[in-house]
């Protein structure tokens, strides 16, 4: 157990939780939903598990990350834990780079680290369109670290498959390798 500053998921953590996120994404794809898997993990426990709820809520901001953050807050309430303390030691694992809005939301929750699969060339907020993750925005929470590229091609493939099926609401990736 390190201090706040040194909080960083281990290689095994990344492997394990990203694999779970990919399972979620694949499941979503099979159900005709946006294939994005998204987990918030605190202390080896999943405290938020979001799926894209844009269509059923008619609220275009209900991305998987936003849904997961709500669950984290509910989990803290139920567990009688302080959201701020939990967030300091929580990592987000997500198959696609969070968009600009979600990256800002993660800052506002003061999450220290985000692990993602492929880039999001249309909306990405962790460097692809803007780098909200590390921008100097003193009134918008904290910066966070990014670990990117984990099974990126697989994540892109799923999005492309989904696109061929329909729906314009998902992040549209380009097969770009960098």
């Amino acid at each position: 157990m390190g201090t706040e500053e040194s909080f960083y998921p281990s290689e095994e953590d990344i492997e394990k939780w990203m694999s779970r996120a990919f399972d979620m994404a694949r499941e979503a794809l099979q159900n005709g939903e946006v294939p994005v898997g998204c987990l918030l993990v605190y202390n080896q426990e999943v405290v938020g598990k979001g799926r894209n709820e844009v269509n059923e809520t008619k609220n275009a901001t209900r991305h998987a990350e936003m849904v997961a953050l709500d669950q984290l807050q509910d989990w803290c309430r139920r567990s009688n834990l302080d959201v701020r303390c939990v967030c300091e030691r929580t990592a987000l694992y997500v198959t696609v780079e969070p968009c600009i809005m979600c990256a800002a939301a993660l800052r506002l929750f003061k999450l220290p680290v985000v692990v993602f699969g492929c880039r999001n060339d249309r909306f990405g907020g962790c460097g692809s369109v803007l780098d909200v993750a590390s921008a100097d925005l003193p009134l918008t929470g904290n910066t966070f670290k990014c670990v990117s590229g984990h099974r990126a091609e697989e994540a892109v493939e799923m999005l492309k498959t989904f696109y061929r099926q329909e729906n314009p609401n998902a992040p549209k990736p380009k097969t770009r390798k960098d």
Binding site: T57, K58, F123, A135
Partner: protein, 340 residues
């Protein structure tokens, strides 16, 4: 004397007490950039068109199509001056002279002594940019009349301003209601400008949830007005939405959640990057805000509404009831300083 003055100031807040300005892209608002060139006076006016023809094939000045090749200098014995080439395109020479700039093929006895001049590097996009550019060298200008009028703060008619005034007043009232509950003093209103109908009114609720900024609250209230939504803000009397009239409401033909298409948002303070991007996702029509914010994403830190890579762009205006909105914000900042 003092209370008298205050009362007078309070009653003065009609829609002529503020001016609304557009928040333009960086390209439209950036300062003039200059590039160095060589020019020379034309000694024999009759030779001008031949010189122009030969010069433009010799030195095409590509990327500078906005530059007029010839200018007229009033009061000079040789009022016509022609651009020869950019300094960076010129051949290397020990001493500046026409002979070294133009190869022997070009007959140049109609040209006087060459000189250095700074010319505008980019085409002007707005009238202020055009006027700035013209002080250095004449350029062409494809004027967007609406932008010109908007930059003068004269885009909206008196009745339009009166309606903007009314909507921002609602946002201010909501902000104050939220602030009394311990929230940040920010309020927002979503209006359908085609019917002038108010769709949603909301205020900041981040005391309950760190993401419930006034704009996010309004977006969810708009979703609720269309039988969607994720939250209940019913415990906040100042957060309201107008349910669709059952006989007129039709669900949009597609189930796409671009629910703010064509709507106007009034918000007392410039939205943050999360809220600005939420407005992109929701396809907002126009945004009007009162006062800028240090982290603002519709003008101050970013201009999300003009961000090239994004798939939706919209107009943004600032300054609606600017002073009253500013007062709201500064009060909160004072309060915060005490708090922390």
């Amino acid at each position: 004397m003092e209370p008298q003055r205050k009362r007078w100031k309070g009653s003065e807040c009609g829609s002529d007490s503020w001016t609304v300005y557009p928040v333009l892209s960086d390209e439209q608002s950036q300062d003039l950039e200059l590039v160095e060139a060589f020019a020379a006076p034309v000694l024999n006016k009759k030779e001008t068109s031949r010189l122009l023809r030969e010069l433009s094939s010799l030195y095409p000045m590509s990327g500078l199509q906005h530059i007029k090749r010839v200018r007229t200098v009033k009061g000079s014995p040789h009022p016509l001056e022609v651009l020869l080439c950019l300094v960076r395109d010129a051949p290397h020479m020990e001493v500046l002279s026409i002979d070294s700039l133009l190869p022997s093929g070009v007959k140049h006895d109609a040209l006087g002594e060459p000189f250095r001049v700074k010319i505008p590097a980019r085409p002007p996009l707005t009238r202020p940019q055009f006027e700035q550019a013209g002080k250095h060298w004449p350029t062409s200008f494809h004027e967007d009349k609406q932008v010109t009028v908007a930059l003068r703060g004269e885009l909206f008619t008196a009745p339009q301003k009166a309606s903007m005034h009314m909507h921002m007043m609602s946002a201010l009232t909501a902000a104050k209601a939220g602030s009394e509950l311990g929230m940040d003093a920010v309020g927002a209103v979503v209006v359908d400008p085609s019917t002038e109908k108010v769709i949603a009114v909301g205020h900041d609720c981040r005391g309950d949830h760190p993401l419930h900024h006034a704009v996010m609250v309004c977006i969810d209230l708009v979703a609720r007005s269309q039988a969607g939504g994720s939250y209940y803000f019913d415990q906040y009397p100042a957060c309201t939405f107008t349910p669709p009239a059952s006989d007129t409401f039709q669900s949009p033909p597609s189930s796409l959640p671009y629910i703010c298409t064509g709507y106007d948002l009034y918000v007392t303070r410039e939205p943050c990057i999360m809220c600005a991007m939420a407005l992109v996702h929701s396809r907002i029509g126009r945004v009007f805000y009162g006062t800028a914010s240090a982290d603002g994403a519709l003008g101050r830190k970013y201009k999300i509404h003009t961000q090239k890579d994004l798939n939706h762009h919209f107009e943004v205006y600032r300054g609606v009831l600017g002073e009253q909105c500013e007062d709201l914000t500064s009060k909160v900042e004072v309060y915060r300083k005490v708090d922390y």
